[in-house]
Amino acid sequence: MKAAVRLKPGTHFIEGNLALAEGAIAAGCRFMAGYPITPASEIPNRLSQLLPTVGGVFLQTEDEIAAICSAIGASWAGLKAMTATSGPGVSLMQENIGLAASTETPLVIVDVMRFGPSTGVPSVGLAGDVVQVARGSHGDYQIIALCPESPQEMYDHMIRAFNLAERFRCPVFVLPDGFIGHMREQVVIPPDQEIELAQRKIAPAGTTPLERQDFLDPEVAPMPVFGRGRQAHVTSSCHNGQGMRNLTDPEVMHAFATMPIEKILRHRDQIVEVAADYAPGDVVIVAYGTVARSARAAAQAARAQGLAVGTLCLKTLWPFADQEVAAAAQQARAVLVLENNTGQMLPYIKAEAAAHCPVQFLGPRLLGQIHEPNAVLTRVKEMMS
């Protein structure tokens, strides 16, 4: 086919997955590896058209394991790299998500979440992967996860995700659900020159690993990307700051596990993002992703009836917005947690909120369907009575 063309700056009416693909290109993504899966397939479909036109590469792999591994390889080759899949694919990728975290590899992983467990219902969205993306690989590690609630945020979050991945040298998830992935809405695409892009720091030329700190720096070590004569030593095994394998020294083991976590948590204020719209004494509805829209619609309807209802919508799921949730709970009359699952984030929210006010959970009437605002309003009124 002839060279595909990126969407021009301006307002478009496009589905979330397409907005996400455009956002990836704008963010500087130059490598995507993926395996087709509903409801994420529009992302590889579009990026396979666009990437070669901007000097990038698209690879359709034999499975999702190969997809994440080759994306990690491409990141070490110096490219901004990503993969996109759904929950079953993330399950297959988990071992190497741990590798990306422990080798401090910048990488964006898109999980367009679908109704599970198992094969489930591919075409129906469900926020079923919110904990597996954070805790699914073995061992102890920290990822960053963003949670868009609209096609516009699918575009915006891709740019933020690549910037965070480059800045903090770590895997970053973007976690829409299939509903937002396939929903069309207005998306404003800015001109490229208005988009701020972060680039990873690169290890100094003319050095070898023993003269550098390539890993385990809580202030983020420059990356010794391949092909530049840096003799980088990268291993998934326990390693020291130079990257050298060490399976005997407990001090090194401790640093290997904790420093990549510390690196992210120390900068949590630059990462964690919420949309807070509540006043003291409100019933605060805490939500994220698609159902954040239900939360806002319910709060709007409640306020129209003179009820004190606010919202706290999480834009990032990981690191968890512990301080923000606690701050809301301290002022709230009660907290109502909405999730399009059976309560995966609830324990984390309770841990911060339950000491300050009552906390209740509301799933959708039918799992996978989004909360109807009236149902939320009814529960809020019950909590107030």
Binding site: T11, F13, F179, M183, E185, A297, I370
Partner: protein, 176 residues
């Protein structure tokens, strides 16, 4: 004001395309906000297909259609699935070639013989959905005709613009 629309038919009738064009017209050319979702069965032809569109002057918070203000029905199956959730004062626009008798409780029902008009007057069965869009535009005015015409021209393949725009105009003229 928030308007909820359902455009439903069977696979191959272009119901989802009509919904996409409606949303694009509202957002791109009519200064409105729109959220559009869809569902379809796995077979390409003959199964169920529907588009849902929420239109508003404000950003759309809740993106789903719960009880449509407008139901565009291109098949008997669409009536069976969606007539019961149409709002009491809701508008039904239906293809009178496919649906003999709309449910009696729907007081604002507008027939248009989209299938036969497309076949016989346009010699293109494929444009029945544009005729339905024309009828929708004429009856409800939720999106301006100018905006819809531009969105149709954007959406259809090169060389097919005129055919589709004529079908759209025909729907506006012939809706009952």
């Amino acid at each position: 004001m928030r308007t909820e629309l359902t455009i439903a038919g069977v696979g191959g009738q272009g119901s989802i395309t009509a919904g996409v064009i409606l949303g694009a017209a509202a957002v791109t050319y009519d200064h409105q906000y729109a959220a559009q979702t869809s569902a379809y069965s796995s077979e390409l032809r003959g199964g169920f297909a529907a588009a849902w569109v929420v239109l508003s002057e404000e950003p759309v918070l809740y993106p789903r259609v719960i009880a449509p203000d407008v139901l565009v029905a291109q098949a008997q199956d669409s009536i069976e699935r969606f007539a019961k959730v149409l709002k009491p004062q809701g508008v039904l626009i239906y293809d009178s070639d496919m649906i003999a008798q709309p449910p009696a409780q729907i007081t604002r029902a507008h027939p248009v013989a989209a299938t036969s008009l497309a076949r016989n007057e346009m010699q293109a069965a494929i444009v029945a959905n544009m005729i339905m869009l024309g009828a929708l535009c004429q009856v409800t005015g939720v999106v301006s005709p100018g905006a819809l015409e531009k969105a149709i021209a954007d959406a259809v393949p090169q060389g097919k613009q005129e055919l589709n725009l004529r079908a759209f105009a025909l729907g506006r003229e012939r809706v009952g």
